[in-house]
Amino acid sequence: MQSEITHIASPLPAANAGAQAVPSLATPRDYFELLKPRVMSLVVFTALVGMISAPGSINPVLGFTALLFIAIGAGASGALNMWYEADIDAKMSRTAKRPIPQGVIAPGEVLGFALFLAVFSVVALGLLVNLLSAALLAFTIFFYAVIYSIWLKPSTPQNIVIGGAAGAFPPVIGWAATSGSVALEPVLMFLIIFVWTPPHFWALALIRADEYARAGIPMLPVVAGDRATRRQILLYSWLLAPVGVLPWLFGYASLLYAATAILCGALFVLSALRLSKASDGAATEKAAKHLFGFSILYLFVLFAVLLVEKAAGWSFGQLVW
């Protein structure tokens, strides 16, 4: 057996080129990078808000356990995405330093790692917390890896509109972990993230349009151009502003949340307006970067206020229908 060289098969032709099993130089940090830690942190945060908002209570140990396995499940879907898109990642500067394009971890190894984590996180969540949250986590992983990464992303410029649902599920999973059910309140949280995702992601796509074009991904700026994308961003921003206020309108949040959501929504629209009116070139890029950064802040602030309100039990100015 000593003289045999193992070949690692990958579905990706690019990844197969020169793929030979060499002793690995991968460190634990490389494996952690496969989990998309920044995305994971947003998932954990929004899931925590869903968990705290739900009626009833969850034992802190079980709450931590639920968050841990939701994070691992999210990381698994990120790793599956990196495995499938390794050839695309290699063509884009933003993603070229990921472990597979860098040749640090073999594609087949990433697939095994991701599938193991996906199954493990779902089974553990089901055994230790409850079956509904586990089922929702399983569906989220499937949606992100198969519906978004494999099906939608390479085939339609509306990929992120539908695919955004995957990132919107965590508060619903968190809610289900505490209450064992799903209600309108986490669905509203889902809706906020769902409507927030297109303008957030298209702002980034505007900046990276050339790279997406080179990689053959039909992102909206590539297919419809800059101006149409900026128009769509503005449209979704107008939609997001009122959607952000819904938790207060439905009586689930206090006046503090309403004021924050209205202010942040107005700033979001303003930022999108500035982008839509920016002249082509550097001005557009600057405005898109600003909107991208602000969009992250927007979601963080809204969910942080919800979290503080729920944790502190504030109900000042809450509407009762």
């Binding site: 130089l25 634990p28 089901g126 230790l128 509904l132 064992g180």
Partner: protein, 58 residues
Amino acid sequence: MVTAVDEQRDQKGIVLTPEQQKARRQRSIALAILLGLLVVLFYVVTLVKGPGVLNRPL
């Protein structure tokens, strides 16, 4: 064609370079720590859930 793997072979098979050994050691330690933490977590969750540990409501 001589590959990196061929260059690392001798009669004892593949001999790891110091960097590869270091990376493998780091991976082994990380795995050991993670497994240990999981054992502790499952133990604590079992204590928390008590006799209801096998009861898995929706």
